[in-house]
Symmetry: none
DNA sequence: CTATAATTTAAAAAAATTTCACACATGGTA
DNA sequence: TACCATGTGTGAAATTTTTTTAAATTATAG
């Protein structure tokens, strides 16, 4: 599951929470922008399209619910509300208005991350390439199938793992060590054998690899188109 | 889909909450059954297949989290946890274990209804998938029948349980262990046999499975499109 | 051109899966 | 109840797939 980085806007007037959340989300591989008020947030969403907004309800000036009301119609960005404890009625309002989730304070940042991932999974179907075609070769990671000039070859699990990675970063050299870690194998010669087998399946002329090439001293690359 | 009435199990040791929730859900057109303990709930889910479970975490005897752990593997019923306020870590645990949502106490029954509807919307559709067709194969879990190129094969209970799960998450790999838990069998070779028999029924060429594939070292996947 | 290092390949070994044949249970029927 | 027919689970053998090893080949630097 390679490298889609979600951009998240964190809106809270409390500096402490803002920086805590920011740091935590950063560590979890999100790209984070913050705003200290609803007004400020409104500016930012005009400029950047975020993948998700984490929004405190209680803020001086416009509060979180008002922010949602202002923007929900035009915006399809999912929102997670942060509510002070016991604000049951506000939670209800928030959900009715169109928040996608809420998190009662105090919360465990871990939970925030869980919730965010949960929602992102639903909304952005992390679009990974799973079916690619080049020349007369088609690789279908769903059906675990390679079709080369009409002939079918099955992809096994090991091969799937390697192809998944390589397909999503074509042109990147993968060291044997790296590949070994992916498939939990540490004998380097064994990696070679796996590559050879893969070549038989994806290369038109396996002895002269065009797509899955060796980088001597460094590893292997997949070159598509 | 006209008038599907969801059957909900409410599990809480507190009489007050139980009856409050029951009444409120009843008023909102749900069919409600209650249980005053995890043990009691375990009995009931053996007998009735609920559409959703509302589960208090804090209970004497087994608590809610334990209940989920006991049943999650075999059960695909969604669970909403009721947590006392501030139980941040338990919420996290609950979500990690596989609860679908939680509601911090004190809560507004209105919110509970919102959350329930929300989850049911997501799950009901999926649960409905009981008849599927791909290529020249039709699987009908209602009639317990597979029709492959005109020929009929009966589905037995074991197979039904497995297919039910696999059909609803095509592309997901099911380990033998997982399948074993579903059908209460712990000999791994026996699982293989069951798969072989299933293949005879659903595969056009059982020796070269296209739909029900082996993921060596990991288990089996169903790929339908 | 040669020596050396790195990669490829083929074949053996190991591991995992499939299949077979039988045993046991279940339910129907005489 | 005894008998069969059918379906399901099990262990073991057969098969298939994957990993390892080692030999052969190819590339590179001097």
């Amino acid at each position: 599951m390679d490298k889609f980085i979600a951009h998240i806007l964190v809106v809270d007037d409390d500096d402490g929470i803002r920086s805590l959340v920011k740091r935590y989300l950063n560590d979890n591989n999100f790209l984070v922008t913050t705003a200290d008020s609803a007004e400020n947030a409104s500016e930012k969403i005009k400029i950047v399209k975020f993948d998700l907004i984490v929004l405190d309800i209680m803020m001086p000036g416009k509060n979180g619910l008002e922010f949602i009301q202002d923007h929900k119609k035009k915006m399809d960005t999912p929102v997670i509300l942060l509510t002070a404890k016991g604000e049951a009625s506000e939670r209800v309002q928030g959900l009715e208005i169109g928040a996608d989730d809420y998190l009662p304070k105090p919360f465990d940042p871990k939970e925030l991350v869980l919730r965010i991932k949960n929602i992102l999974d639903k909304t952005i179907k992390i679009k990974q390439k799973r079916i690619i075609e080049f020349e007369s070769v088609k690789i279908d990671l769903n059906k675990l199938l390679i079709i080369k000039s009409g002939k079918e070859f099955k992809i096994n699990n090991t091969e799937k793992i390697i192809l998944e990675k390589m397909i999503n970063t074509p042109g990147k050299t993968f060291s044997r060590e790296h590949i070994g870690q992916l498939i939990e194998l540490d004998k380097e010669r064994s990696i070679d054998v796996i590559i050879t087998r893969l070549r038989k399946k994806i290369e038109i002329d396996p002895k002269n690899p065009k797509f899955l090439q060796t980088i001597r001293g460094a590893g292997y690359v997949l070159w598509i188109e």
